[in-house]
């Protein structure tokens, strides 16, 4: 038992090292780019980082980050709730899942930028536009993941549970839900990453506050250092979310897959 815990801890630290090495490699390449092309094209990484510290130190900088995070999560959570709920319902019905196929294809095909234009017309320049854009561009992914999870479950296991007269609620949680999650989770993780990117894009075009708005300001001022600083914030937060939220959840729900 102790040995097991130690080895999982070691493997965690080890994968952390891997991520860190990757990050430093990116900074190194960035530095090379700066030295080759000059600071107008790419600012020095250190300059961008010090700008980042300045931005976060300002009350408005931190506020921007929190606003963006709030919008991304609001859109993502709404999309998760609706997407999973309707995906499960559609998955259980042959007719519905057939009917939903073209909808998913269309919804995945519409570029987020088109939704932003529509959302601007519908919701104006407030929180509504980025939240809606995140919602509408991530929901097809989550919906399709839940639907596939229900469709692809092993009927043999259902039959086994039925043969023991296990009540329906337990059957769902213990037999079907773990199978659905293994399909849903990758889609869910992709949707979370997408929601970060989309929220920044929506803010850039529609909002006066948030990371996207900060990027828009930087563009107006031709301030590459601030631009890179905001990019570092977005990517850094995505890495943190992945490490602190997604990976532990993944370990929890898929732990049985990694039993040696």
């Amino acid at each position: 038992m102790i040995h097991h815990m130690l080895s999982t801890l070691m493997s965690k630290i080890w994968s952390g090292w891997g991520t860190l090495a990757g990050v430093f490699l990116i900074f190194a390449l960035w530095q090379v780019g700066f030295e080759t092309f000059g600071s107008l094209v790419l600012p020095a990484p250190l300059e961008a980082l010090s700008r980042l510290v300045d931005l976060v130190a300002l009350p408005s900088g931190l506020e921007y980050i929190l606003i963006t995070a709030k919008r991304a999560f609001a859109g993502f959570l709404l999309a998760s709730a609706f997407g999973i709920f309707f995906g499960l319902i559609a998955g259980w019905s042959n007719t519905l899942s057939l009917l939903c196929k073209p909808f998913i294809t269309v919804a995945l095909g519409v570029p987020p930028i088109a939704w932003i234009v529509l959302a601007l017309l519908w919701f104006g320049g407030d929180d509504g536009t980025p939240i809606f854009t995140v919602f509408i561009s991530t929901i097809p992914l989550i919906f399709a993941g839940a639907l596939q999870g229900v469709r692809m479950r092993e009927k043999e296991l259902d039959e086994m549970a039925q043969s023991f007269h296990v009540p329906l609620v337990q059957r769902f949680w213990q037999v079907q839900a773990p199978q659905i999650v293994s399909y849903l989770f990758p889609a869910w993780a992709t949707a979370l990453g997408l929601s970060w990117k989309v929220v920044v894009m929506a803010e850039l075009l529609s909002s006066t506050r948030g990371i996207g708005a900060g990027l828009a300001e930087a563009r107006v001022n031709i301030d590459t250092a601030s631009t890179m600083a905001w990019i570092v914030v977005v990517v850094g937060l995505l890495l943190v979310i992945e490490g602190m939220l997604l990976n532990p959840v993944k370990d929890y729900v898929e732990g049985w897959k990694h039993a040696e």
Binding site: E156, F164, V166, V175, W256, K257, E260
Partner: protein, 270 residues
């Protein structure tokens, strides 16, 4: 109920069988998965308490379908089933353990169909698991960490944990080696002798059917129907590999049956 109180000696599978109450009676008139294709023609079967009956037949003859109907997993297009068994369990060809549950939780899984507290379920599952030769270490393992034989034994433990009056076996031994197979035979027969559990088994292995059963029904395909019923003449304790071979010979001496299994000139090995 009466028989529960009466002192039943363990190894009396035959002779007294006529007086024992019927546990299951299945009468299928017709069954089709597809409207134009008849899977089962009229076929009926009666199973008595403590009796072991096998259905053998070539692959795809409908024997598994018949078992599914008998077990109540699917409904016959037309037909009647009546069963007096309180608790039934099915052992499938594949183990069908839940890969995300430990062995112990898998064994206790089937008990959720009964009104037991979680503590009682765990206690019962543990007792059964130990009786079937699992160690404490095995119980916390996931199915992927167990060998094929142990998985099937786990599936049997899950089935026996519900203390079935009626056990359905759908070729559960076919993927096991000869030693593991005999271990499981013994565990099943122990349940039959101790608790007067009735067993309906489907297999394509003639020797297996003869070794375990009181009666063997032979099913012929297109559409599935029982072609012959064969009462195994020896009591289970009298059966050995040698005399089973003779029984098999006498069974396959019937031309119709030999043809069914594609075993004309069956003595030729290859």
């Amino acid at each position: 109920m009466l028989n529960d109180a009466a002192p039943l000696l363990s190894v009396v599978p035959r002779g007294s069988a006529e007086t024992k109450p019927s546990v299951l009676s299945v009468s299928v008139e017709d069954h089709r998965y597809h409207p134009l294709q008849q899977t089962l023609a009229p076929s009926a079967l009666e199973l008595k308490k403590g009796e072991v009956v096998s259905i053998i037949g070539p692959s795809g003859c409908g024997k598994s379908t018949f078992l599914r109907i008998a077990a109540g997993l699917i409904e016959a297009s037309t037909g009647k089933i009546s069963s007096t068994a309180d608790r039934t369990a099915i052992l499938f060809q594949e183990h069908r353990l839940l890969p995300w549950k430990s062995l112990l939780n898998n064994i206790s899984f089937g008990l959720q169909g009964q009104k037991l507290s979680k503590f009682q379920r765990m206690k019962k599952a543990r007792t059964v698991a130990y009786a079937m030769g699992f160690t404490e270490d095995d119980l916390i393992k996931y199915p992927s960490e167990l060998s094929g034989g142990m998985r099937q034994r786990g599936a049997l433990a899950r089935a026996l944990a519900v203390e079935p009056d009626l056990l359905f076996l759908d070729e559960p031994f076919s993927a096991l080696d000869i030693g593991r197979r005999r271990d499981l035979y013994r565990l099943v027969l122990h349940e039959v002798d101790e608790k007067q559990c009735s067993v309906l088994m489907v297999t394509h292995d003639v020797t297996e059917a003869l070794a375990l059963s009181d009666r063997v029904l032979i099913m012929a395909p297109d559409p599935g129907h029982f072609a012959k019923e064969y009462e195994v003449p020896l009591t289970r304790s009298e059966r050995t590999r040698r005399n089973l071979l003779e029984l098999e010979a006498s069974l396959l001496a019937d031309d119709r049956i030999a043809q069914l299994f594609n075993m004309s000139n069956w003595e030729q090995l290859v």
